[in-house]
Symmetry: C2
Subunit: 380 residues, 2 copies
């Protein structure tokens, strides 16, 4: 597998576009479209927040048949807590795109990210839609990647190439993150496209496994968003032997590539977290169960005291120990081993050995900085 | 019941002192002693962190018989993660005080707060002990209140007076908080003294109930400390009719006064939280159970996004909704009611009605500010 230049429009038969439709006062791009030339097999993972934004509700319904051909995304407004109007306009957004693309509205998924509780300025989306669809191009993956951002500083996109049999497969992706990143999806959007031929249940399985070890292993502030979604579309243009069961010879290769793409996107979300100056890898060894290992990772990665210590380049292991101890585990001062890399560097490794068993987990996080407080104290 | 000037040395038969023994580089007071003229009935509540600092371990042992006459406290060093030497020096600290006071070492409790993982400079405590004991005075409650502080900006002490029968009862207290404040005790110390006559089991019950509705209803950063402890000593000097069972006519009056004292201390800890500019009262109504109400309170009160919104005077109810939704409750956009007071004021009330039942809870917290990050990024 090799990483190549590109993003969501790089796999065969995909196009994308991104533009400004006026939702963001700044005038920055805020409307994106990712589309395949033909209907795709689709799989999605959604936020586990019990309060779900309108686009999540609408997209969940459309995903019933695991089929989609396009994803329309706006940034700057989350269309959340917007009542029945929110649902109506999320649906309308998919319909206006479907009509212009001349496809069934059920094949158009919708996602939103941005401020919560304000009405979606649907008219702006409707007015911009013709230009958005007209501008679809295999060269415009990056435009889409840019238009889905909110407080992110950097575009996050990737493309990889690998062989399944003699067929070249491409997977492309873009993502947005920044604030409100945490377990079980955050204000985190991830869109993945591929020309691989794979059936719905295998695509779902591969995505679920990949997300568990990537997007669901990152935390910025432990806050869970109402809008998160990761979706993968596959159009089968690569004409590889259809991956139709878990023991298919190519399933593992495909899964590994998908996981790599997801993990790379997840890490870049942490790198580009609101106000972040550090990238912190928290590894827990010697846990009784994988779940225990992960919960200890999160206790450390979400500790404001650990995160400010990282910001201040102060390797205070007492704060790590206190975070571990805050869980009611059978850990004592004696058998707990904590190892730090230098806190002066941008990359920090924190490794904790619980000496309770042989399971392990890793979680990625960022530091808690003055900039984080500034951004979130003034967000509007 | 009325609030009077005073603190831990105000109830009859109590004395206190505080001084600098050189643990803090700044030269600020770092050693305190609270003592009764006679042995007291004692009750304590300790941190639930599975990693406990040496003084907690030592004090827990001494509390077996619910008897104590003095509490020695140092600030500037938590004596935590200090191995068997830590335990040895915590014990030695109680012994040196006991010898000077000419009482049994089991009657001297010990508490520490400050940096974790550094050896306790015991020699400094030993050298200062004679002066500390010599200076005990009924007028020096405030000196003790000052010497237990770390990053706290303000002394926290209170005294109240009330009648049980014809006897005047006094309860006094001092506390320290500041950072690492959260459920189940935090780097939070609370010392309460009273001249009421009450037996050990009733004192324990009254303290447990009071702490549940005060110290355990506050959070600053969701971090749980290894050193927390609240202790109450009662010497019976008021000669009231001994409170010896739950249905004793005076138990409720005493309990209410104790709860008032604890709640007042807890609130002042939040007011004086590291970097705080706001005092936030989070109330949850309409929960199925009290536990559910409290967990929703904490989800809101510990949300960095809610706390930065408070700091920025930005009443972003979407962030409150997202925090509520992050718990897997059966709450929907439709039945969730959120009410805010003005975010521009120092006191903010956030009230959430879940419409799931009729239980409620309240938690107090502060905002997340630039100053918090500065303090905790440089703490040493």
């Amino acid at each position: 597998m090799k990483v190549i230049q590109g993003g969501v429009a790089t796999p065969m038969g995909f196009q994308a576009n991104g533009m400004s439709c006026g939702i963001k006062r700044s005038g920055r791009p805020d409307l994106a479209l990712i589309a395949s030339d033909v209907p795709c097999v689709a799989a999605s993972v959604f936020t586990k927040n019990s309060i779900k934004a309108a686009p999540i509700v609408v997209t969940q319904k459309k995903m019933r048949y695991n089929k989609a051909q396009a994803i329309v995304v706006n940034s700057g407004n989350a269309n959340c807590f917007t009542g029945s109007f929110g649902l109506f306009y999320a649906q309308k957004t998919t319909e206006v795109i479907a009509k212009l693309m001349n496809i069934h509205p059920n094949y158009v998924l919708v996602a939103s990210t941005g401020i919560i509780g304000k009405p979606l300025p649907y008219k702006k989306i409707e007015s911009a839609a013709p230009e958005l669809v007209r501008g679809l191009s295999p060269k415009s993956g990056q435009k889409a990647a840019r238009a889905i951002l909110t407080t992110d500083k950097k575009i996050k996109e990737i493309a990889v190439e690998f062989l399944l049999g003699r067929k070249k497969i491409t997977i492309g992706a873009c993502a947005k993150g920044s604030g409100m990143i945490q377990p079980n999806m955050a204000t985190m959007l991830g869109f993945v496209t591929t020309d691989a031929a794979i059936n719905a249940s295998m695509l779902k399985l591969a995505l679920k496994q990949s997300v568990a070890e990537s997007f669901n292993c990152i935390t910025v502030d432990g806050c869970m968003s109402t809008n998160d979604m990761v979706t993968v579309l596959s159009n089968g243009f690569a004409k590889n032997d259809m991956i139709d069961q878990e023991d298919h010879k190519d399933f593992k290769t495909f899964s590994n590539a998908l996981r790599h793409v997801c993990l790379e996107m997840a890490k870049r979300i942490v790198y580009d977290a609101e106000g972040a100056t550090k990238f912190i890898k928290v590894s827990v060894l010697g846990a009784k169960t994988k779940e225990q290992a992960k919960s200890v990772c999160y206790a450390i990665a979400n500790s404001n005291l650990v995160k400010t210590a990282a910001f201040g380049c102060d390797p205070n292991w007492g704060r790590v120990a206190a975070a571990v101890g805050s869980l009611s585990l059978n850990v004592t001062e004696k058998n707990l081993k904590i190892h730090f890399s230098s806190f002066a560097k941008q990359h920090i490794n924190i490794t904790v050995d619980l000496h309770l068993g042989n399971q392990k987990a890793t979680v990625y996080t960022s530091d808690l900085t003055l900039e984080y407080v500034k951004i979130n104290g003034k967000y509007n």
